[in-house]
């Protein structure tokens, strides 16, 4: 039997200037299974075109570890989009 098309639910967080652009800092989102972080970001950029210009100055994390943009997501994952950090 071919696998049934499934969705996964992930938590998405935005910080710093990204949060200002989005107007909110976190939400839950349903995605096609095996979507990547890149695809997740593209969904938001489709919704809010201004986001696209931040793509090259953002890093992503998955479950509190820095992650590459091609990381596939699983249900329950927490993904964050992080602008350049300026602590200290």
């Amino acid at each position: 039997m071919a696998p049934v098309s499934q969705t996964v639910r992930v938590k998405v967080l935005f910080f710093g200037r990204l949060k200002d652009v989005l107007g909110h800092s976190e939400e839950f989102l349903d995605l096609a299974d095996a979507s990547t972080i890149e695809e997740l970001f593209a969904l938001y950029a489709a919704r809010i075109p201004e986001l696209a210009k931040y793509r090259s100055s953002v890093v992503a994390s998955r479950n509190e570890e820095f992650a590459s943009w091609d990381t596939p997501l699983r249900s329950g994952d927490e993904v964050a989009f992080l602008p350049p950090v300026s602590g200290g």
Partner: protein, 158 residues
């Protein structure tokens, strides 16, 4: 990764940081040196007078990254104990935003470890600073943390 010693401190706080108390905390009779880095709010940024700052963090990840720095210090340097505390929320001019104190039997390790800690914190810990001026506010320029370029996927067994 070496486990952090029980008396290391990694904290995000919203109240003023007690520098003296943290220096006393890392102090032990077997040590001879403590090097401390105290980062605090300057009265200007790029020659514009600053009114105050606001720090926010991805708190759970920031704490995890701070603990990771602590573990790296114990791996790389012959130190005894470390305290890394970062403040969040609104900070006035002159207030301490970050305090790192490292104790060690010898001073070279304490200097190297303290500097490694603040350099690494500024590159990798998800904390952001918004600067408030007379005529508005901006997110400070920062550093993009080094993230893996691609995921190395294990080929599924067939």
């Amino acid at each position: 990764m070496a486990a952090a010693l029980q008396d290391d401190i990694f904290q995000l706080v919203r109240e003023p940081i007690d520098v003296g108390a943290l220096i006393r905390h890392v102090r032990a009779p077997g040590d001879g040196a403590i090097v401390t880095f105290d980062g605090f709010v300057r009265n200007q940024s790029h020659h514009r007078p600053t009114l105050y700052l606001d720090y926010e963090a991805y708190e759970s990840m920031a704490l995890a990254k701070m603990r990771e720095i602590g573990a790296q210090l114990h791996e790389k340097f012959a130190i005894h104990c470390v305290a890394i505390v970062h403040r969040l929320g609104r900070l006035e001019i002159g207030e301490t935003s970050v305090l790192i104190a490292v104790s060690a039997p010898h001073r070279a390790a304490a200097f190297d470890a303290c500097r490694f800690a603040i350099d690494t914190l500024k590159r990798t810990v998800p904390i952001w600073k918004k600067e408030y001026f007379e005529d508005g506010a901006v997110w400070a320029d920062g550093e993009l943390p080094p993230a893996p370029a691609v995921t190395l996927r294990v080929k599924p067994a067939s």
